[in-house]
C-alpha cells in the first residue's frame, strides 16, 4: 500500500516536472535565439497578394541588415485585434505591428507603444513629408506613437459588362446621386436578382465606414469637431440615409443582405477600396471600371480614409531598436513607393506620390486614378477610444432601416441616442 503511494507520487511529480521543463526549455531556446542577430515579429493582417509583396520586401530588409531578422506574421483582419488585446494585457506584444487606423485610439491608450518621435530623432525628422491628415492617428498626447504604413480610400467600382447589357455607356459612370440611382435601376431591371448597386448593411465597422461618405457628402457629418456629440441626426443626414433606403425598398435596385454580389458579377456598382483593383484585374469574371464617388445635388466630394499604422511595442532595448530600424525603413519613400505599386494602396507622402515607380504604375493601371484624385477629399474617422463602440452602436441602429422595419427618422434618432451613450463610455 505504502509503496504504491510513493510510486504514484513519483509518477505524478515526474509528469509535473516534465511539463514545467517543457515550457522552460522552450523559453530558454527563445532567449538563446535572441542573442544575435535580433529576431523580431511583425504582426499584420496583409494577406494574399499584399502578404506576398510584404514578404519580398522583408526578405530584402533581412538580407541588407545582418543584425535584425524580421519575421512577418499574418492573422486574419478580424483576429488581429483580439490577438493584440491579449498580448497587451499579458505583456507578450510583438516588436512591431501594423493595425487598422480605426483601432489606433485604443492602441495609443495602451501605454505600450514606443515614442517613435523620440526614437527617430525628433517628431519633425520622423514625420518629414508625410501628409498631416495621416498623422492624426499616430499622435497621442503630443507624441508620435505610430506612422502611416499605407493609406487608401473608397471609390465607386462598376461592372462594365452589366452597364453594356443595361444599355448604359460603360465609359460614363455616374457622377451624381441621381445618375447613380437611374443607372442602378436600369441594371436591376435586367432581372435574375441582379442588383444595380450593392450596399453594405451588415452591422459593424463595415457598415459605418461605407455609409460615412454619404454623410460627409451631404454635409451632415458624423460627429462634431470635438468628437463629443453626433451630428448625423439632421435633415442632411436623413437625405443620405433615405437615398440608400429608397434604393433598396422603393427602387428595388439593391438588396439588404450579405456582401459579395459585385465580386460574382451580380451587382452593377459598389463602393470599395483601391486594394480591390489588383484582385479584380486578376480574378473578376467581368470588366470593371472605377470612378470618384458620386455626389448629391449641392453636395461636396467626400470619401473615407482607410489604411494601416505601423508601431513598435516597448520591450528590451535591443528589440526596440531593431523595431524602430525596421519601421524607419518600411516608411521610407523608396520602400513605400514599391509597396504601393505591389498593393495598390495610396501614397503616404508627396515624395512617394511623385516617385517615378509609382507614377509609372498609375499610368499602367488607370483604375487607380479615381482613388488618387479622391485622396484629397478623404475624411478621417474620429480618433477617439470610444470609436469602436460608437461605430457599433451606429451601425446596429441603422441596420433595420435598410431592411425597412424602422423608418429613416427613427433609425437616425435611435442612432443618435445610442452614439451619445457610447460616447459617454457607458
Amino acid at each position: 500500500m505504502k509503496r504504491s503511494h510513493i510510486r504514484l507520487a513519483s509518477i505524478l511529480s515526474l509528469a509535473v516536472f516534465a511539463t514545467v521543463s517543457l515550457g522552460a526549455g522552450s523559453a530558454i531556446a527563445a532567449n538563446k535565439k535572441a542573442v544575435k542577430p535580433v529576431t523580431i515579429q511583425f504582426w499584420n493582417y496583409w494577406d494574399g497578394g499584399n502578404g506576398q509583396a510584404l514578404n519580398v520586401l522583408i526578405a530584402e530588409f533581412n538580407k541588407k541588415n545582418k543584425d535584425v531578422i524580421v519575421k512577418p506574421v499574418t492573422f486574419p483582419w478580424g483576429d488581429l485585434l483580439p490577438k493584440l488585446q491579449t498580448a497587451i494585457a499579458s505583456g507578450t506584444t510583438p516588436a512591431v505591428a501594423a493595425t487598422d487606423i480605426a483601432w489606433m485610439a485604443n492602441m495609443n491608450q495602451s501605454g505600450k507603444l514606443v515614442d517613435l518621435g523620440a526614437a527617430l530623432g525628433g517628431i519633425k525628422k520622423a514625420t518629414a513629408g508625410i501628409y498631416p491628415s495621416l498623422l492624426t492617428y499616430g499622435t497621442y498626447k503630443g507624441k508620435i506613437q505610430s506612422l502611416p504604413a499605407s493609406t487608401n480610400n473608397l471609390a465607386l467600382f462598376y461592372n462594365k459588362d452589366l452597364f453594356r447589357k443595361a444599355g448604359l455607356n460603360p465609359n460614363k459612370p455616374p457622377k451624381t446621386w441621381a445618375e447613380m440611382r437611374t443607372d442602378a435601376m436600369a441594371i436591376s431591371a435586367l432581372g435574375n436578382g441582379i442588383q444595380g448597386m450593392e450596399i453594405y448593411v451588415q452591422p459593424g465597422e463595415g457598415l459605418t465606414w461605407q455609409f460615412q461618405p454619404y454623410l460627409w457628402q451631404t454635409g451632415a457629418g458624423f460627429l462634431n469637431k470635438t468628437n463629443t456629440a453626433p451630428t448625423f441626426n439632421s435633415a442632411a443626414g436623413k437625405t443620405a440615409l433615405q437615398y440608400l433606403v429608397d434604393l433598396i425598398n422603393v427602387d428595388h435596385a439593391a438588396t439588404a443582405g450579405q456582401w459579395g454580389a459585385f465580386d460574382k458579377g451580380q451587382a452593377g456598382m459598389r463602393i470599395d477600396g483601391s486594394w480591390m483593383v489588383g484582385g479584380y484585374r486578376d480574378n473578376a469574371p467581368f470588366e470593371f471600371g472605377t470612378a470618384m464617388l458620386p455626389i448629391p445635388d449641392g453636395g461636396v466630394h467626400a470619401t473615407n480614409m482607410g489604411g494601416e499604422q505601423i508601431m513598435a511595442f516597448k520591450g528590451k532595448p535591443a528589440t526596440q531598436a531593431a523595431a524602430v530600424k525596421f519601421i524607419k525603413w518600411f516608411t521610407s519613400a523608396p520602400i513605400q513607393a514599391r509597396w504601393d505599386v505591389a498593393t495598390n494602396f495610396m501614397p503616404i507622402s508627396d515624395t512617394v506620390a511623385n516617385s517615378n515607380v509609382l507614377l509609372k504604375h498609375i499610368a499602367d493601371e488607370p483604375a487607380l486614378k479615381a482613388f488618387i484624385n479622391q485622396q484629397k477629399y478623404a475624411y478621417a474617422r474620429p480618433a477617439i477610444a470610444t470609436y469602436p463602440a460608437v461605430s457599433d452602436a451606429f451601425s446596429k441602429a441603422l441596420e433595420p432601416a435598410f431592411y425597412g422595419t424602422v423608418s429613416v427618422t427613427d433609425a437616425l434618432a435611435n442612432a443618435d441616442a445610442a452614439v451619445r451613450k457610447a460616447l459617454s463610455g457607458k
Partner: protein
C-alpha cells in the same frame, strides 16, 4: 409477401440514406470542384463536377501555407490532449467512484459545474497564466491546459461504477498497486467509455480555433484551422486558393478516418455483453 415487404423496406432505407448522404457530401463536392477552377471562373457553372483541372491553385496554396507542418502540429496537439484527458480522467474517475474522502461531494459538483463555463470568458485570464508559465507561442499551451476533462471524469466514473469491485479486489489480492489495477483491470474493461472520451477529446482539439489563435504567433506552430483562416481576409478572398487549401486540410483527415473506422467502432462498442 414478407420478403417483398422486406425488400421494399430495404429499398426505402437505401433511398433515404442516399438522399441524406448526398446532402452531407455536397459541400465536399463543391469544395473540390471549385479548388480545380481557374480564378476567373470560380463562380461559373458547373458547380458539382470539375471541367477544369487548374492544379496551380494547390501549388500556390501550399506555397503560402505549409500544410504538412500544420498537420503535424494538429496531430501532436490532438494526440497528446487525448492521451492526457484519458489518463487524468481515468485516475480521477476511479478515485471518485471507489473512495470516500473529505470534500468529495463539493469537488464533484464543482467539476461538473465547470462544464458550463463559456470558453471565450476564460481567454484573457488563461492567456495571462500561460504567459507567466512562458508557454505563449508554444504548443504546450494548447496541450497541457486541455489535459483534463470534467466530461471525461463524469463519463468514466459512470462506466467504472458498473464494473464490480470484485475485479479490483481480485487484482489487489495478487499484490497489484492502485495504478496497476486502473491500468490493467479498469481501463481495458472501460474500453467503450475510453474510446468515446478519446474521440470527443481528439475532435475537440482538432477543431479548436479561438484558443490556438490567441496563443500561437509563429506560423511554424500553427494548427490546421489557423492555417486555413489565413486564406480569407480583409483585402479580398481568393476563393479557388482557399478551396485548394480547404481540400488539402480535409481529405487526409477523412482518409485517416476511413482507415481507422472499424477499430473505432469496435472500441466504442461495449464488448462482452453480446459475445
Amino acid at each position: 409477401m414478407r420478403t417483398f415487404k422486406k425488400i421494399a423496406l430495404r429499398l426505402s432505407d437505401h433511398i433515404a440514406l442516399i438522399a441524406m448522404s448526398s446532402i452531407v457530401i455536397l459541400p465536399f463536392v463543391w469544395m473540390i470542384t471549385t479548388s480545380l477552377k481557374p480564378p476567373k471562373l470560380a463562380f461559373a457553372a458547373p458547380y458539382l463536377y470539375p471541367t477544369h483541372f487548374h492544379w496551380q491553385n494547390f501549388v500556390n496554396a501550399w506555397d503560402e501555407a505549409p500544410f504538412s507542418r500544420y498537420y503535424l502540429n494538429s496531430i501532436v496537439v490532438a494526440v497528446l490532449v487525448t492521451l492526457g484527458q484519458v489518463l487524468t480522467s481515468a485516475l480521477a474517475a476511479y478515485a471518485f467512484d471507489r473512495y470516500e474522502f473529505p470534500f468529495k461531494k463539493t469537488l464533484w459538483f464543482t467539476l461538473l459545474a465547470s462544464m458550463m463555463v463559456p470558453l471565450p470568458l476564460l481567454v484573457i485570464p488563461s492567456f495571462q497564466i500561460i504567459q507567466h508559465l512562458h508557454w505563449a507561442d508554444n504548443l504546450a499551451a494548447l496541450i497541457i491546459p486541455r489535459c483534463w476533462s470534467a466530461f471525461g471524469i463524469l463519463l468514466l466514473r459512470q462506466f467504472i461504477h458498473s464494473i464490480p469491485r470484485d475485479f479490483d479486489d481480485a487484482a489487489k489480492m495478487d499484490g497489484a498497486s492502485v495504478l496497476r489495477v486502473i491500468w490493467s483491470v479498469i481501463l481495458p474493461l472501460a474500453r467503450p467509455a475510453v474510446a468515446t472520451l478519446a474521440l470527443f477529446a481528439f475532435l475537440f482539439a482538432w477543431n479548436d480555433f479561438l484558443w490556438p489563435l490567441i496563443v500561437l504567433n509563429s506560423p511554424e506552430h500553427f494548427t490546421v484551422p489557423l492555417g486555413i483562416a489565413n486564406f480569407s481576409g480583409k483585402y479580398g478572398t481568393r476563393w479557388t486558393l482557399l478551396m485548394a487549401a480547404t481540400v488539402s486540410a480535409t481529405i487526409p483527415a477523412v482518409v485517416a478516418f476511413l482507415a481507422m473506422q472499424k477499430s473505432l467502432i469496435r472500441g466504442l462498442a461495449s464488448g462482452g455483453i453480446n459475445e
